[in-house]
Structures are given as C-alpha cells and as structure tokens.
Amino acid sequence: MPLIEIRDLHFYRGDRAIFKGVDLDIYRGKVTAIMGPSGTGKTTLLKLIGGQLVPDQGTIMVDGQDVHRLPHAQLYELRKRMGMLFQSGALLTDISVFDNVAFPLREHTNLPESMIRDLVSMKLQAVGLRNAKELMPAELSGGMARRVALARAVALDPMMIMYDEPFTGQDPISMGTLVNLIKRINQSMGLTSIVVSHDLEETMAIADEIYLLSGGKVIERGTPDTLQDSSSEWVKQFVEGLPDGPVPFHFPGMSFEDDLLNRKAVK
C-alpha cells in the first residue's frame, strides 16, 4: 500500500485552479519526484500533504490517515513523523546550528541533554557539518543552510521527508552534495522521499518515480527512463528544455502585428 495516496485533488487559490483532479501515489522507501514548470503548485502540494492547506475537493491519505480529517493533536503527531526541507532552509535565525537541529528533539522528547548532544552530532555528521555546530544561520552559505535544515528534518527519524526545490540556486558542488545526500539518507534510513523540483538533471539522477504536473493535472508518470522515451509533447518540451511548445513562449494575448498596427492606427 502506498504511504501517501492522493485522490481527485482539487485546490483553488482565489479564482485560479491550482489542481484540477490530481491522483498521486507515493510508495514507501522510494524517492518520488514531482516536477513541472514554475507556478504549477508544487510547493502547494507539499503544504496540502502536510495539512497546512486544506483541499477544496479530494482526499490525501498519509499512512492510512486522512490528513484533513484529523483532529489538531493527531495532525501534530503525524507531522512529527514527517520531515520537511523548505526552499530557504527555514532555520530559526536567532539560535545556533546546534540548537536548530536540537529543536525538534527538545520540543518533542524528554531526552537528557547529553543524549541530545550525541543525536545532534550524529545528524550533523550525516550531512557533513558536525564541526559547524556553533555557527549561527546567518554565517552559513545557502547550501550549508539547507544541509543543516536537512539534519533538522531527520532529527526525529521521520518516516518521510519532503524536499521543496532543494536544488534551486545552488552551485554545482552544493548541488552534487545535496543530490548525494538525498539518495544516501533515503537508503540508509529507509525513508520515503518526495522531491519537488524543476531541476531536471539532478532529479532524474535520483528519482525512482517521477510525476510531471502541468495545468493542474498529472500529465505523465513514470521512471526517468520511460519519461525520456515518452511521446507526449509536454514531456518532450520539459525533458529537452525546449523554449516553445505546449507551454508557450509568448504570454497569451494580442498578436504582435495587431499590437503595432493598433498603435499606428491610434496615432
């Protein structure tokens, strides 16, 4: 049974339809990627899974529980088993790296400080930043901040992690490090990972399954290999990075000729 089942998801922001009937399955132990052009609501999807947003229609089942029917306390219990890596890292800026990673441990467990110290060191070691534990978030580079956030996300040994655009804006070295980490952590800790991204190469390198979203629907689903061989125009444009195709280059509206002529006519 999939860890996460999304059925017939509809979500509107104002008048705009973000999701118009989306079905998704996330399987345990696998890295599932959700990709698509910018603005297709990928981050929104993560917030829906985490219960921060409520769908207008449809259900989201996580580990057999309907996220949006859960009472407050149970929702919070469920969240303890979910790790989330935000695009900016979302570290608490007024406390050190160590305290950031220790945060979930201190809030949700009664472990003694000595144990917490060891756990934090282990998590930081996994992401390669154990010796940075005294630094403040402001002193970290973007890539390092994300790695600390990753250490924090796995602090409570969750059953799944959601990555919101982890590769965006990273230099090649940080990118490589992160890609490596995501895959390694998923395997060594037996996690389920959901990666939301539009960075093709990196995501294709680690994903076991990819969902391609556009226009509020799933337009393709498959392994990185099947996607490469797909016949769909959408997929081809996305995979090959073509400037024009089903997602148009020109913002829809008046044609160029009419525009110029109109202006000439007014004069």
Binding site: I95, S96, D99, R106
Partner: protein, 155 residues
Amino acid sequence: MRQKKSTEVTVGLFVLLGMGALFFLAMKVSNLSAFNDEQGYRVTAEFENIGGLKARSPVTLAGVRIGRVERIELDPETYNANVVLNLYASFDTLPTDTAASIYTAGLLGEQYIGLEAGAEEEFLKDGDVIELTQPALVLEQVIGQFLFSKAEGDE
C-alpha cells in the same frame, strides 16, 4: 536554548527597578504611608452641614493630623450628616467632650475636621460619639447674616 545567565540577571534587575519605582510612588508620592487604618479606632460626629468635606479628608488636633474621615452618611431622621472619623490608635487620649469643627485649609483649599480637646477625664473609645460639633461655614449664609445684622444696625 542557551539562556544566558546575564539575560536572567538583567530581567531580574528590570523587575526590581519597576517594583522600586512603584514602591517609591507608593511611599514617597502618594498618601499610602498615612494608611494605618487597621490600628485606628472609629468615632462618629454629627454635623448640620459638612460643606465640602469628603471621605479621606484629614482630621487634625492642634493642626497635627491624627486621622481621616472614613465615610459620610445622611441620617434619615435628624436630616444631619453623620461623619465617621478613623483616628490613629496612638492618639487615644481625647476627652469625651472634644469638639469637632469643619475648617477650610487656606482660602480656597480643602476642608478638614479640626478637633479641640475638652476637659473631661474619660477618653473617647471605638464607637463613641463626639457631641459638640460645629458645621462648615457656608459663605452665602455668612454674607446673609452680615447683611442682616448690618440692616438691623442701621435702624
């Protein structure tokens, strides 16, 4: 959370400073230090007219403050004002024929009760009544009396 010791200390100092300010206001600025009511004893005095006397107005003897007015009630039978005085326990040697009058401090100042000691050998106790009272001066009545006597004098 690394709670710096210095933070806690400064917060403690802040609270002390605030309480100190309140204490200063209470003791040095307000009339709180004059509130020793628990050990006071109460006597009543009846006045025809209390003028501008209020609750908490001072009660003095030879100009020295020995208590305050606790409350003022209207007597429904005599149509006079019953004033309850709360006197400091340390001044318990007031003769039972002490007189109470209502004076004004300065020309336009507050009104207060001035006591004049009598000659009796027994002293006022809690619950006693001061028999001799003089009402407040009402300016209009004084002027009226003055004019009246002047008119009489001219005849």
